[in-house]
């Protein structure tokens, strides 16, 4: 019970710390919203193959982008900074179970990700009249749940590979933005070679975008089991890498 209470307290503290750097919090929320409004206004009205209005694909894909920014970049960069600042070292001197500490961080990240997803969903509705179809709610929920878990795990994994506090933000951002672009997150009509598009399809970014798109576009596809499986596979891989790296940590002081 105490572990649970500590986890909750840690999560609350992390949320509070997130909102305390307003520029950072603003950036994490504002960028996806801004992109949605910009791209939605510019291209939303045009039609994609299959007579689908582009906005119906843009909203979910940029929503995916927002979730990735919160879960992957946020958590990944933050953990790398905490490690290189020596904060993790200090935590290890206390009786706080590593699990409680970590889950506290993850819980805060989940809350932030859901907040972004929520605000983007609302903007998609108010600005563009685009909402997920009723039958797609379950798909939306599973996509968000699995997507957040997957990208949080990947964020933790990448944080264990980052070498300094200063490089944390550049590396986390640079490691997913190009892939997001190639995956067609910002422009579903992007012309890229077939093999590249295929490769992107195996990556979790496109998988998440496709699951969420599925919830927004008119029905008549099968349940996106493959994409969800891809997310799950990457989640497991990320968690395994993170666990392996953190277990290999050198003893308290590295001189």
């Amino acid at each position: 019970m105490k572990a649970v209470r500590l986890t909750v307290r840690q999560a609350v503290m992390e949320q509070r710390n997130f909102w305390r750097s307003p520029e950072y919090a603003l950036f994490t929320f504002a960028l996806p919203l801004f992109l949605l409004l910009l791209l939605g206004a510019a291209n939303g009205g045009s039609y994609l193959p299959g007579h689908i209005r582009q906005i119906k694909v843009l909203v979910p894909s940029i929503l995916a982008f927002g979730v990735i920014a919160a879960a992957y970049v946020n958590l990944g960069a933050k953990m790398a900074v905490l490690r290189h600042d020596g904060v993790l070292k200090r935590i290890r001197t206390t009786p706080l179970p590593a699990g409680a500490y970590l889950v506290g961080h993850i819980a805060s990240t989940v809350a932030t990700s859901l907040a972004i997803a929520g605000s983007m969903g609302v903007v998609g509705w108010l600005a563009f009249g685009t909402v997920p179809r009723l039958g797609g709610m379950f798909i939306l929920a599973s996509g968000l749940a699995l997507g957040i878990v997957c990208f949080a795990a990947l964020g933790l994994a990448v944080s264990s590979l980052i070498k300094s506090a200063e490089s944390a933000s550049p590396i986390t951002n640079a490691s997913y933005l190009p892939i997001a672009m190639i995956s067609g997150i910002f422009d579903p009509t992007i012309g890229i070679p077939h093999w590249l598009s295929g490769a992107a399809g195996a990556l979790p970014i496109k998988a998440l975008a496709q699951v969420l798109e599925d919830a927004y576009t008119p029905a008549a596809h099968a349940f996106p089991a493959v994409d969800l499986a891809i997310l799950l596979a990457w989640a497991v891989a990320g968690a395994a890498l993170a666990a392996w790296r953190f277990r290999r940590q050198p003893a308290l002081t590295a001189r």
């Binding site: 209470r5 500590l6 307290r9 840690q10 503290m13 509070r16 710390n17 997130f18 305390r20 750097s21 900074v81 905490l82 600042d85 020596g86 904060v87 070292k89 200090r90 290890r92 001197t93 206390t94 009786p95 706080l96 179970p97 003893a251 308290l252 002081t253 001189r255």
Partner: protein, 323 residues
């Protein structure tokens, strides 16, 4: 060597007044030995100093005591617990002040200490922690706005959050200016006044001399000598030094040098070494009286210090091929 990693040492087996009990502690990486079987004890309520040059194994020893490194041999008991067997339980009762340790960037002093308190079963009251470390005025300050000295005090506050019985300080003044060092020494003395047992590692002799009740000199993975600072100095069996300013009458050769006393002169200072301080001093004073030298200016008697003993051991160790 067989390793004796005992999982459970019944509390009654260690004398209750011992905070730390170490016997035959070994630490090897493959065939490289960092600690070659060391023994020492730390009594409750004292400041114990592990002294040695860099690379001697001080930090390794302390990490083993804290439960962060698994030893390869010997027995270690800290507050009645084996750090290798029960590290989490041990951490509830110890405080560790680390070097180069940061704080969460957005934290505020009071709320950070309060969060830390929650990690422990029997924390000290928040107001008390702020008071003892002089941070009451900074309770709501963001951590990133603190000065170096305030950050250090916050390190102490966090280490004390759980009201530990034993506090570890690893090279606490490395890189500090003289002013900051003195302030930290005062903090350590305050900790002792609170009844804490303190284990301190350092390569600064003046620090050990000032703070330690008992000290152990660690060299090349072995403890050369241990005891109170006075004992250690005495055990090295080094002579005392008596020095005074050369009187002009002696310089000019107008009077003979004192008999039976081997005086070395450097610049204006005459020094002699003796194992019988009082006797030699008396002979000197008699000589001064006899030849009407008057008062011996800058007369000083230096009994062997910890530094002398330490350097003596280090020099011996350097010359010894077997070590």
């Amino acid at each position: 060597m067989t390793s004796q990693l005992t999982a459970e040492i019944p509390a009654g087996d260690t004398a209750p007044d011992l905070a730390v009990h170490v016997r035959g502690l070994q630490m090897s990486y493959g065939d490289r030995s960092v600690l070659c079987g060391i023994d020492f004890e730390v009594r409750r309520g004292e400041v114990f100093c592990l002294l040695g040059p860099n690379g001697a194994g001080k930090t390794t020893t302390v990490e083993i005591l804290e439960g962060f490194r698994a030893r390869t041999g010997g027995t270690v008991t800290v507050l009645g617990l084996d750090p290798a067997a029960q590290p989490a339980r041990l951490r509830e009762r110890i405080g560790i002040v680390l070097q180069e340790c940061g704080f969460p960037r957005q934290a505020r002093v009071g709320e950070l200490i309060d969060l830390w308190r929650d990690y422990y079963p029997h924390p000290r009251p928040l107001g008390d922690l702020l008071d003892v470390t002089g941070l009451t005025a900074d309770r709501n300050s963001p951590v990133r706005r603190l000065s170096g000295g305030q950050r250090r005090r916050l390190d102490f506050a966090l280490a004390l959050a759980g009201d530990p019985d034993l506090v570890f300080l690893d090279e606490p003044t490395t890189g500090f200016d003289p002013e900051a060092r003195r302030r930290l020494w005062t903090s350590v003395e305050n900790l002792r006044d609170l009844g804490k047992t303190i284990v301190l590692t350092t390569h600064y002799l003046d620090e050990a001399e000032r703070l330690a009740d008992r000290v152990a000199i660690l060299l090349d993975g072995r403890i050369k000598i241990a005891g109170s600072t006075r004992e250690v100095a005495r055990l090295a069996a080094l002579p005392s030094r008596i020095s005074f300013r050369m009187p002009n009458v002696l310089l000019s050769g107008a009077i003979p040098a004192p008999e039976g006393i081997d005086l070395t002169v450097r610049g204006h200072t005459a020094t002699c070494q003796t194992r019988n301080t009082a006797v030699t001093l008396r002979a000197l004073l008699d000589w001064a009286a006899r030849y009407r030298v008057g008062d011996l200016d800058d007369l000083a008697v230096d009994t062997p210090s910890l530094e002398d003993a330490y350097l003596h051991h280090v020099e011996r160790s350097d010359g010894d091929p077997g070590l």
